[in-house]
Amino acid sequence: MTRRFLTAEDVRRAAGNEIVVDAETVVTPQALEVARQSGITIRGAGGSYAEPQPDRGPDASRAVTKLRQIPEPEGALKGRGLIVTVVGCNRPGVLAEVSAAIAALGGNVNDISQKMVDQYFHMVFVVELSGSGNFGDVKRELEALGHEGDYAVSVMHERVFRFMHRV
């Protein structure tokens, strides 16, 4: 019989000094504690007990396989695009700094636009990330470039813009 949980009460009731649980059983922390105190070993069929991967239920597998098949809005970059915007006070070297950082992180600038409003500039880079670059790391590194009173960088995934502005 498959049992979803092995509780402290189950351990207290168990005869012998070993309980073998199947691969689907989750042992509660309290059961582990009671077993430890009374010298009972809890083990899986193939060796020591390890908590199984969460079973999200019969509907869940579809989430992984089908969610990505729901039609998405059309966009230029599929998958690895970043949109980097830079806003700040104008001074020489900002464009060079940001584009050098993008290149160093493995990004390829597909498009760039720049505009001045009064003494402030704003730049938009459309970047395609090559290879194994990690979005989170790239975002952190680029956003760390800016300083208060100088300029601010914000990095967002291209999918955000695709979802918001394309049907």
Binding site: T7, L67, V124, V126, K139
Partner: protein, 454 residues
């Protein structure tokens, strides 16, 4: 480039300046398989199952936030109403279950866990009885547990006995949390036509028809709507106002759809719904009241407020419905009084009365939310306020809720600070008159004629 510069800057501005965010990612976890004849074992299973499924929730939400550059503010858990899970134990005291839920919430690092709940819109089971008796102590003792109760529905009518008992539970909860200004009541809400996939606390829980685990997302963005209306200016007519709100709601909801799909996929669980609700926070600008005032009422609560709110709620729903095929939950505009700086000011200035708030709830998405009343409010007055609100929901086929806080030791006009997202409240005056005989009658209010649809 694939997008115009204007489009890119619009999105960046929404996040950077207009507080667009994903308000909550809520993982629903069914607890049906945790029922056990022994309450202690039930608690163990509940704790173990919640931790087992939600262990990666905070980490996944953070990773999505990092990857997409959209802030995800809250991570929450919603569970099966515990009275259904605890019934098998026959226990009279369900506080241990609240402790187990609280411990699990702390272990996985979520903000709140909703589901210390029961459905009593027609009658009480023994477990519901035990749950009602346990609520005040449970909410006083725990930090993260929220409780919600279904007291009526269009299909079943109103359970007036339950409403009367609930009012007493509210008073008892306030009495047990005197030192925090009755804060326990902020985690306690009752519903008519309860929503079974609501990702927002305090009403979050998952109903009988839900999957083993399901991820629901709540998006918010009063600040974005406010800015859009600011740009539109006072000259535009109301059709233009509705169109602007609808377009903005569409864009906000698309963010929810994106994050919901991604989070469900990364957690390997079913994707439930996107709840597009304009949920204010005490932060300046993140206010539903500001939107109403931009639409043209002098102060929130002035004549015209209900009409403006009706337009707002409807336009938000229409934009949301186009943006996602999975719009659910409460979806509309929230009016939690203490959490919205504009509404706090309106109450302070005498513009927004309790009566006007009740009128507004006929067209907003929920009901009387985060309303403070004097600590010595008689129980029959609370029953009357709650019954009125439930009746609005019952007759109009909509969800209504009451989250009311009798603030111990405070009278009308006095201020209470709850801090954080719960904000500041001015205690409102429920009036001099009550309904003691109506309260004492009890029984059930039959389902209205509009429920006979079969």
């Amino acid at each position: 480039m694939g997008f115009t510069e204007q489009e890119i800057l619009e999105t960046v501005r929404m996040v950077a300046l207009e507080t667009l965010d994903i308000r909550t990612t809520t993982l629903g976890i069914s607890l049906f398989d945790c029922a056990d004849p022994d309450l202690e074992s039930t608690c163990e299973k509940v704790y173990t199952k919640v931790v087992h499924h939600a262990r990666r929730l905070v980490e996944v939400a953070q990773s999505i936030s990092d990857d997409y550059g959209i802030p995800i503010i809250n991570k929450r858990i919603a569970v099966t109403p515990v009275s259904w899970v605890a019934a098998a134990s026959g226990s009279h005291d369900l506080v241990p279950l609240a402790r187990a839920l609280d411990a699990a919430a702390k272990e996985v690092g979520v903000d709140y866990i909703g589901g210390f709940s029961s459905y009593v819109h027609k009658g009480f089971t023994r477990a519901d009885d035990a749950l009602f008796a346990s609520i005040p102590q449970a909410l006083a003792e725990t930090d993260h547990v929220c409780s919600s109760i279904s007291l009526g529905s269009t299909k079943s009518g109103l359970n007036m006995d339950a409403i009367a008992r609930f009012s007493q539970v509210v008073l008892d909860t306030a009495a047990l949390t005197v030192d925090t200004g009755g804060l326990g009541c902020a985690k306690l809400v009752c519903f008519c036509n309860v929503v079974e996939d609501n990702p927002f606390v305090a009403g979050a829980h998952i109903g009988v028809g839900e999957a083993e685990t399901v991820l629901n997302v709540g998006v918010s963005g009063p600040g974005v709507v406010r800015s859009a209306l600011e740009r539109l200016g006072p000259e535009a007519d109301l059709l233009a106002v509705a169109e602007t709100i609808k377009r903005t709601a569409f864009k906000i909801t698309r963010m929810g759809e994106l994050v919901g799909r991604e989070a469900a996929s990364r957690l390997g669980t079913s994707f439930g719904i996107v709840d597009i609700s304009l949920a204010p926070t005490p932060a300046v600008g993140d206010s539903v009241s500001d939107i109403l005032e931009l639409m043209g009422v002098d102060r929130t609560g002035a004549p015209g407020t209900t009409a403006a709110l009706a337009l707002l709620t409807d336009a938000v729903k229409k934009g949301g419905a186009m943006a996602s095929s999975s719009v659910g939950g409460l979806s509309g505009a929230f009016i939690p009084v203490s959490e919205d700086q504009g509404m706090i000011d309106a109450v302070r200035d005498g513009a927004l009365s309790l009566a006007k708030l009740e009128a507004m709830t006929t067209v907003c998405s929920v009901g009387l939310d985060m309303v403070a009343v004097p600590g010595d409010t008689p129980v029959d007055v609370l029953t009357g306020i709650i019954a009125d609100e439930m009746a609005i929901g019952m007759v109009n086929n909509k969800t209504t809720a009451v989250r009311i806080i009798p603030v111990p030791g405070k009278g009308p006009g006095e201020t209470v600070e709850w801090g954080g997202l719960l904000g500041t409240a001015i205690v409102q005056d429920p009036g001099r008159f009550g309904c003691s005989i109506f309260h004492a009658r009890g029984g059930r209010m039959p389902a209205p004629i509009q429920s006979y649809r079969n």
